[in-house]
Symmetry: C2
Subunit: 165 residues, 2 copies
């Protein structure tokens, strides 16, 4: 296998790991009732719906960060990133959040499934060209890896919303 093929393979593995966490999240929120999603993951902690909204807002913000386009639902940032849970903010209904998650994932997938290795290795939009010249690891694939781990972290918490087996 030549290095170009190896590079393609590693990118594919990384994108597949991202997709796997998204599938995991989708299957979890399909399994949970709307009422279970309203529950706290543990006493006094974040609710399931807040974490769901938080993950959608973070994924949505990946669109401009990766140069894929504008955010689809910029209003989510205030409610689910800048404001902690249980601050009196008005959240969308679970059904609406599920639609937003589907839309954000579709918008991301259009690019993650098709961009070239060179584009994955190019800088994300929050790093300057000068800094990127010194720190070439601050590329788009690194953002995807970091968001994959962020999602895994919160999925671990949302699993606690399931009934005890």
């Amino acid at each position: 296998m030549d290095t170009g093929t190896q590079l393609q393979l590693l990118i594919k593995i990384t994108v597949t790991a991202w997709d796997a966490q998204n599938k995991y999240l989708n299957s979890l929120i399909t399994e949970l009732s709307d009422e279970q999603l309203q529950h706290e993951i543990a006493p006094g902690r974040n609710t399931g719906i807040y974490l769901l909204g938080h993950l959608i807002a973070v994924s949505d913000a990946m669109l401009p960060l990766l140069g894929f386009g504008e955010r689809l639902f910029p209003a989510l940032e205030e409610v689910f990133i800048k404001t902690p849970d249980k601050s009196g903010q008005v959240m969308p209904a679970v059904a609406e959040l599920k639609e937003q998650l589907t839309a954000v994932n579709a918008a991301l997938a259009k690019h993650t499934q098709s961009i070239s290795a060179n584009e994955w290795l190019s800088k994300h939009s929050a790093v300057s060209p000068e800094d990127f010249a010194k720190e070439p690891h601050r590329n788009k694939l690194n953002v995807l890896i970091s968001r994959t781990n962020h999602m895994a972290n919160h999925i671990g918490q949302m699993l606690l919303l399931k009934e005890k087996g």
Copy 2:
């Protein structure tokens, strides 16, 4: 940047993401008291010490899976992988688990910091040469990615052991 350099960069980013989760775990268990680690992450769920032992056992099993050598603490598998929490099993003390974590991470790091791109792209020990020929994504780096996400998932849960801010 030529494709060989790009490949090296992606491998470095992936190993750094693994290291970051391990640092996160280490800093969390340093911050938590031994008593906090004995608590359940949520009512009726796994205890912190069980999840810590589970993560060490899974990391230890990566040594043979990645062809890096024998497991250091094979007895952990029975206690923390094959047996669910609160089954009456005898667990090592927290101090002992912390030493085991350090030892396993050191043994892994010796290899993860030094092996070649070709070795990362070679098959892990749980896949046959025939299957690997058809499914070249089942390589050592893929194991590292999958274990990184597994650790992130459980760290999200162990964070609930911290006092509420």
